[in-house]
């Protein structure tokens, strides 16, 4: 049993319930003992750091301080969410590299009678722990239902392998960890050069056309390379590709159907765990085809929510080659 302090982050309890459920389901068979930080708070996501530096880092460092207080001999903090992982790692790194900054953060933490010694904890992403601490051999031993014939896209998103302060990943642009894991699960890994491209992040809120184009690129390539499903390690990526796929289709007049699952859900499937326990059915773009492909009984379908009206175009337009008027113009050229 390997002991880890778990920092779940907000999305694991809300939008990425499937991630949390499937993580809980697979942690036992692979011997991953997770202890959640008591009284943790938001990591600050991506926005807060742009607004005010010290409070933002104090906010995230509070979790590190709590973790080291509750560590009980464990040194490793594991974050399943990419943004949480990056923020924790970033806070630790900046406090370590800039002692003056570290002191100012600790001054802020002192208000809550907390303190954190930079470098005293190791911060890992869940995938990193599974590949390098638990090991693929342990994963392989648990595979009872190989994902044979399932074409899976390994999509990591931008935040996990970069900037990689502690050199944990095989490469910053083309890391192969997720590919290796999927191969171990028996899946057919799709060659997917966009594996570390951005999913659009919060652009869905600021400039939907920009976000739609970014989502479109990812889905279009997966579709072109005949993938059955995409898999990711990040709640944000999952949200954008799953939750905004309908709006994106509407915006471009396309008809993509590309389910996206968390890698832990696929692990659970391969381990023979019931789909319901793994949070199947919570996704908006149905992944029934995945279950069908490997011959698993799908849980009863919930009736689909009525489609939302697309938002009006607003905010900063990005000169994207494929926003709607240009698509139309392009179509004309092509049909000519």
């Amino acid at each position: 049993m390997s002991d880890y302090i778990l920092y779940p982050g907000c999305s694991m309890e809300t939008g990425a319930r499937a991630y949390y459920d499937s993580l809980k389901a697979i942690s036992k068979p692979i011997g991953l003992n997770l202890k959640e930080i008591d009284d943790w708070n938001c990591c600050g996501a991506t926005e807060y750091f742009g607004i005010s530096k010290t409070p933002a880092y104090a906010l995230i460092a509070r979790n590190l301080a709590l973790a080291s207080e509750q560590s009980n001999g464990t040194r490793s903090v594991v974050a399943p969410c990419s943004a949480c992982y990056l923020n924790l790692a970033k806070a630790d790194y900046y406090m370590r590299e800039q002692p003056k900054f570290g002191r100012s953060i600790n001054e802020a933490l002192a208000a809550g009678k907390l303190s954190y010694t930079p470098g005293s904890l190791e911060i890992h992403h869940l995938l990193d722990v599974i590949i390098y601490d638990i090991g693929l051999d342990v994963v392989e031993k648990n595979v009872v239902r190989p994902l044979k014939g399932l074409r899976v896209v390994p999509y990591l998103g931008c935040m996990v392998p970069r900037p990689d302060y502690d050199h944990r990943w095989s490469d910053h642009e083309f890391p192969v960890e997720l590919d290796m894991l999927l191969k171990t699960l028996g899946a057919e890994v799709v060659d997917y050069p966009l594996k570390t491209e951005c999913c659009g992040g919060h652009m869905t809120q600021i400039s939907p056309p920009t976000a739609f184009e970014m989502i479109r690129r990812l889905i279009a390539l997966a579709d072109e390379r005949e993938a059955d499903v995409m898999t990711t390690v990040c709640p944000m990526c999952q949200l954008n590709i799953d939750g905004y796929q309908g709006e994106m289709n509407h915006f471009f007049g396309t008809n993509y159907h590309m389910p996206i699952l968390f890698f832990t859900q696929l692990m659970g499937l391969a381990f023979g765990i019931e789909p319901k326990e793994l949070g199947f059915g919570l996704e908006l773009v149905s992944a029934r085809n995945v279950l069908d492909a490997i011959g698993v009984q799908a849980p009863p379908e919930t009736p689909p929510a009525p489609p939302k009206r697309p938002r009006k175009q607003e905010g900063l337009p990005m000169p994207s080659p494929l926003i709607k008027p240009q698509v139309e113009a392009l179509k004309k050229v092509v049909t000519k």
């Binding site: 490469d171 642009e173 083309f174 060659d191 050069p193 966009l194 690129r217 080659p321 494929l322 092509v334």
Partner: protein, 680 residues
């Protein structure tokens, strides 16, 4: 040197007559250190330590300054000299020669570095002056214990070993052989020629590479003074300058070189095709018995034991059956040769940066991404496509080609250094590909470095030809289209830093101008020859500006890319320069070695062997029978590492004995002088 003087100069007998000379070095020293005060102080305060005279002078190293010392030695009967000036690296030889001219043993002259260690590193004048005094005091105490030394002379064997048969090694070997001395040229591959033999054209003149190289290769092959050992590697080097014994493994060619006529029938008949990863850079094929290229020197094939059907299955022997002179010898064994040489030139060359290490550029993943060496073969008329520039499918001519500079060079993640040749090589590719295919050529560069004769003119010529230059480091080469026009193309994503804009440029072919890297086994080679490598792995020269050919180990010289990335003219120049250095050594017939050496006092040596692994020059041997360590005085360079490491104090160095060091420390602490307050 008179017997009288030697008698007078036994260590610190109170009869020392020391002269102290403080140099202004213009304002280099005098600007920070009060040299007049220092000289006055030395004359007065160090009088009881044997200082007879202390002078300051504007430039001690000038002939007038040297005459000053010589005159004092003769007139005042000085038997020790202290020159407080620059670092001994610079002028120790100058002042030692001056002393020798005046009849004083040159090793009784000691330099105190008050420029590099005082005036250049301090701004507080009072503190700097006090430090200069302390250092001179240390020097005086040290020189009192110095003994006259005689340099060792060693004979120089006139035979030379050149390692590496690329253009640098070829040049070295020919220069020495033409001067009438024997050379062993050792090459790892079956033929000499090196990387230059793979190239099509050379920049900036666009000479055919083979046309200018093969005459030189032929001269090497037929030269009576050159013993050419290809398909061979140096295994061991013993001895010291003038007297090296080198063990060379001559790998079994499986061919009797005497009987073979180089007719080529064996290659024709061999049924086994093998991808040629060396000469053809993986783009072409060769047979399992092969000469790398038609002009190979020597024109004798090699049987590739790893791929030959006979060694795999025990049958075939097609080459043996068809060989008209019965020259194939399947059971031939490696031969070990021992040769004696006086000097060694290392010209072991470079390796191309492995572009797979940058997966974002797609080499190895995207078929139409090529490395520079592959393009050299592709453009070469003798190459796998007979000079047709085509995509990896073997037939499509590219319409747009992107050439990416600085792949693996000037990149914090890989190599910080500039690989020197890539800019010019990329311009050459731009010219050749445009000329032969009419394709649109893009060059993606960080800076264009077209220094040296006629290089910039070539750049301007390529500009005029319509090659497009985009300044910016390419982010990625992608096969994922975003628009219809990008479909089926390789898209180069780059920030055009001159416009401040992201660009996506679709092309058919991408050329990665990969940087130069030291060979993988450079560190082992350096260890074999007793020299060292820089952080980046290139061989370290004795002095980066004034002695780029020699190494810190006497008798070992370096030339060509093994010392650092460089182009053909620079490699040739270095090869010739190394040969000139060796020839001057040979002509002198013997060589005086610096007498500053470490030696072991056998009675004190406990045989702990701590020093054994520390010597950077392989000068230490351990005698198992007597359980003592011995230092070879000819190999020892007097670095002092072993002296400091010996826990029993059994190793002592001439010129840096324990007595001297302790006395110097006492002097530095001014224990023998009236204490003066030193500014904080």
């Amino acid at each position: 040197m008179t017997a009288n003087l030697i008698e007078n100069t036994s260590p610190a007998d109170g009869r020392e007559r020391i002269g102290v000379y403080v140099c202004h070095c213009g304002t280099n020293i005098a600007g920070v250190v009060d040299v007049v005060q220092v000289a006055d102080w030395a004359a007065k305060q160090l009088k009881h330590r044997g200082v007879v005279i202390a002078r300051e002078y504007k430039f001690m190293c000038s002939s007038l300054g040297q005459e000053l010392i010589e005159k004092d030695i003769k007139e005042l009967g000085l038997n020790r000299v202290i020159v407080a000036a620059c670092s001994p690296h610079l002028h120790e030889k100058t002042f030692r020669t001056a002393c020798a001219n005046a009849g004083l043993n040159p090793f009784l002259c000691e330099m105190v570095s008050i420029r590099e260690q005082v005036s250049w590193v301090h701004t507080d004048k009072a503190a700097a002056t006090a430090k200069a005094k302390a250092m001179i005091s240390g020097g005086v105490e040290r020189v009192r214990h110095q003994v006259p030394l005689e340099p060792m002379t060693v004979p120089i064997d006139p035979t030379t070993l050149v390692v590496g048969g690329g253009i640098a090694g070829i040049q070295s070997a020919l220069e020495i052989a033409d001067a009438g001395f024997h050379v062993y040229l050792v090459e790892r591959e079956p033929s000499i020629g090196g990387h230059m033999a793979q190239f099509d054209k050379t920049f900036p003149t666009l000479d055919c590479s083979a046309c200018i190289l093969t005459p030189k290769m032929f001269s090497v092959g037929s030269h009576p003074n050159i013993t050419l050992l290809t398909w061979s590697e140096v295994e061991k080097v013993e001895g010291y300058v003038g007297n090296f014994t080198v063990t060379i493994r001559k790998k079994a060619r499986k061919i009797d070189e005497e009987l073979c006529t180089g007719c080529g029938i064996c290659q024709e008949k061999c049924p086994k095709k093998v991808i040629d990863n060396v000469y053809e850079a993986g783009l072409g094929y060769r047979k399992a018995v092969y000469t790398p290229f038609p002009q190979a020197i020597p024109n004798r094939p090699v049987v590739d034991v790893d791929n030959c059907t006979y060694y795999e299955k025990g049958t075939c022997k097609a080459c043996e059956i068809f060989c008209p002179t019965k020259a194939i010898v399947f059971d031939q064994q490696d031969k070990i040769l021992n040769v004696k040489v006086g000097n060694i030139i290392l010209a072991t060359g470079y390796e191309l940066f492995d572009a797979r290490r940058m997966p974002n550029y797609g080499y190895g993943r995207l078929p139409n991404v090529f490395t520079s060496l592959e393009i050299e073969r592709l453009t070469n008329a003798a190459g796998p496509t007979n000079g047709n520039i085509v995509l990896r499918d073997g037939k499509t001519t590219p319409k747009a080609v992107g050439i990416i500079h600085c792949v693996g060079s000037r990149d914090k993640n890989f190599n910080n250094y500039c690989s020197v040749i890539c800019c010019m090589q990329s311009l050459k590719f731009a010219h050749i590909i445009h000329e032969r295919t009419g394709a649109t050529i893009y060059n993606f560069y960080i800076d264009i470095r077209a220094a040296f004769k006629d290089y910039d003119e070539f750049y301007q010529r390529v500009l005029e030809e319509g090659t497009l230059f985009v300044r910016g480091k390419v982010a990625e080469v992608s096969d994922v289209p975003r628009t219809e026009s990008e479909k089926g193309k390789l898209i180069i994503q780059v920030e055009d830093t001159l416009v401040g804009k992201q660009r996506r440029i679709p092309v058919d072919m991408v050329v990665l101008s990969a940087g130069l890297e030291p060979r993988k086994d450079t560190r082992e080679v350096a260890k074999t020859f007793g020299i060292s490598c820089s952080v980046n792995g290139w061989f370290i020269e004795k002095h980066p500006k004034l002695d780029p050919i020699a190494t810190m180990t006497e008798g070992i010289f370096i030339a060509g890319c093994a010392q650092g990335p460089k182009d053909i003219p620079a490699s040739v120049a270095q090869g010739a320069a190394a040969a000139a250095r060796v020839l001057s050594r040979i002509e002198q017939k013997q060589m005086a070695l610096e007498p500053v050496r470490a030696s072991v006092i056998e009675e004190k040596c406990s045989g702990c062997r701590i020093c054994n692994g520390l010597c950077p020059f392989n000068a230490i041997t351990f005698h198992e029978d007597r359980m003592v360590t011995e230092i070879n005085p000819a190999l020892c360079q007097g670095c002092g590492t072993c002296v400091a490491a010996c826990p029993a104090g059994a190793i002592t160095g001439t010129g840096f004995s324990n007595d001297q060091i302790m006395a110097q420390i006492e002097g530095l602490l001014m224990l023998n002088v009236d204490q003066e307050p030193v500014a904080a």
